[in-house]
Symmetry: C2
């Protein structure tokens, strides 16, 4: 019998009525002849309420106790969802992350999954039961509950799918799939039936916040087929998997990331080690750098520009100061993504031409095997997306 892992986020189980709709969805999948393992997040605002409670007694709660507290949110969801399935007359067993054999490293709040021992989950599947597993949590080597951090429930689902050799991991969200561009910005954005792991990774890191990169990387590593679909309607979503025959497609989608700021260090000494020293300081302050470009050297000194998240600008100023450094928070990174461009020339040219035709000035350029990104003024980001979407033939 084919096995599906189905993951429902907090908004899908925000209240009793929605949770019952989720139960019905699981019931339908089971009736259609599939074995089902469900991964579920905390109901609606539960996690926020727990965080608020913690802050009331301690401004800086310990990570271990924070995990102990927050993990109750998912434990509530799994037991209530099991009860709802029982009310529909099908066998269901809830399991905490620890009971489902999800093992993590010793860190808290953002623990990493180190191993899954799925014997107990498998035994319940073999009995014909739906197994409902608490997302976002596992057990660490100290026998303590650890949470997996942002996007952790998706990761729980993908990791369980890998360990159980599931046929598919369905991630239910409030959008109905992955689009060629953000549908709120680009009217003609099209839902994709299929996308490769690498393309999804580039899009996830570029602001198409459907799936966390962490889950996609895991899925790619273990060959787990993911489907992103909506929990509010019954219709197919977008399947994320390894694709082989996609030479005909050059560009899969366009995306903008407006949460970036540009930092330019003027007159960096043009000698070995100067850039290394600069980025060592940045790394030691825990700041992630995205695009880096260095201009040609001019009379023994050079310009270097890089982008960081807007939230990190204050930290960068603390490390580098403001003298001889330019900060620009009014930028956006716009990218075109597609596995096909590996074997297609001319993508970069077409991109630059489309931008030039619309008087959009390019400030930085960065390329990877399957992506071309440009940094432009933030005010032109939506225009750029629309024009690029059309230029690459992504409109319907």
């Amino acid at each position: 019998m084919a096995l599906y892992v189905q993951k429902f986020g907090g908004s899908s189980v925000a209240d009793v009525e929605r949770l019952q709709r989720v139960a019905q969805r699981i019931y339908d999948t089971k009736q259609a002849g599939f074995d089902v393992v469900v991964v579920v997040s905390a109901m609606g605002k539960t996690t926020d309420d727990l965080v608020k409670l913690a802050r009331e007694v301690n401004a800086d709660p310990s990570d271990r106790e924070y995990d102990m507290l927050l993990s109750t949110g998912e434990q509530i969801s799994i037991s209530v969802l099991a009860m709802a399935l029982h009310a529909l007359g099908i066998g269901a067993v809830s399991m905490t992350g620890p009971q489902a054999g999800i093992q993590t490293d010793a860190s808290h709040v953002k623990a990493k999954i180190t191993n899954i021992e799925p014997a107990r989950v498998q035994a319940e599947i073999d009995k014909g039961n739906v197994v409902i597993v608490a997302g976002f949590q596992g057990i660490n080597p100290n026998n303590d509950i650890a949470t997996l951090g942002r996007g952790g429930s998706d990761l729980s689902a993908v990791a369980l799918a890998a360990a159980l050799k599931a046929d598919r991991c369905q991630i239910f969200t409030d959008v109905d799939g992955v689009y060629t561009a953000d549908p709120r910005v680009v009217k003609n954005a099209q839902k994709l039936d299929v996308i490769s792991y690498d393309e999804m990774l580039e899009l996830a890191s570029l602001g198409a916040r459907v799936l966390q990169s962490r889950s996609v990387e895991f899925a790619k590593k273990f060959g787990v087929e993911i489907e992103v679909l909506t929990s509010f309607e019954v219709k197919p979503g977008t399947v994320v998997k390894e694709e082989e025959a996609m030479e005909s497609v050059a560009v899969r989608g366009v995306a903008a990331d407006e949460n970036q700021a540009k930092v330019t260090v003027q007159t960096l000494p043009d000698k070995p080690g100067a850039a290394a020293e600069l980025f060592k300081k940045i790394a030691e302050a825990g700041i992630n750098v995205d695009v880096i470009v260095q201009n040609v050297s001019d009379a023994g000194a050079t310009d270097i520009s890089f982008t960081v998240e807007k939230d990190d600008v204050t930290k960068v100023k603390g490390v580098l100061g403001t003298e001889g450094i330019l900060y620009d928070e009014g930028i956006a990174k716009v990218s075109v993504v597609g596995i096909g461009m590996r074997s297609h020339t001319g993508v970069a040219f077409r991109m630059f031409q489309a931008l030039a035709d619309n008087d959009i000035n390019i400030e930085m350029i960065s390329t990877s095997e399957i992506k071309v990104s440009v940094v432009i003024q933030e005010s032109q980001a939506n225009l750029a997306l629309e024009k690029l979407h059309a230029a690459f033939g992504l409109d319907a």
Copy 2:
């Protein structure tokens, strides 16, 4: 270093302010030089809210899922209380019942503690940490969370105190100790400094609902000294322990149980096995019988009367019918309790005389080594308590 186990019920941690007062109390105990293990219940109405949530999706939730759901209430309390202690600057570690090594039998909702493996708790005590354990829960042989049922948190505390060989188990409640009678009924009721396990057991089963019998029995079996005290003020409570030199005290307290009904079976055949057959039927229906008296035989038939809880009267009627059976729900059982009466004659006589002096008719009598109980009309129960309290010199 002396070790105290401190148990705080749901009303003691009903909101953040009260929980912080509990943290201060623990802090003070620690500062006074004690090691402390804390057992805590769910905050205020948490359990009620969870029960309500369960009922919304399933009128008859499975016991296993019910335990999975309800156990989150205590998990929230322990982590938040640990955070509150951290805010006061002392080391504290929360543990679920399973983590604290509380093992139960395979039943759910009203599981029995089968064993405690306190190694992890002891290790944290040895590091100087306060250990905060979730009450009301343990882990069963299936590696599932099981709850202990009514009074379960008291039992968790007493059992941990036994396993850790603690010097005392302090049970914090909303009353400041055990009284010679219910202070709401008897104006002159006095707080007791000390009471024996057996006396406490008789009083608990007689409506002095400070401690569940189950916890007192456990404490007696393992010689755990209990102190019942209030969480709202700092003052000594009542110590429950094995007493040796109490010959001078005849009666420790008086109590009334108004939740009883009297059943009289008229003309039971006066032959071997008749009573056994009657009570076999009652037992098979899961009904607990308290006092039983049989009158002298008269012409081959006899009367037998017994008391049951008022709630069970309907069940008894279902088993025995109403023909030749009298039911009286307007009764109360009034008892005088005291270890001293083992070696003092005349307690029963003084009791009956005091009741007769006040025109209170006795319908049934039952005695044990440390208790004399009479069944009287419910309307006279308060008067009886007051007069008996005075007659046995318990007024101040």
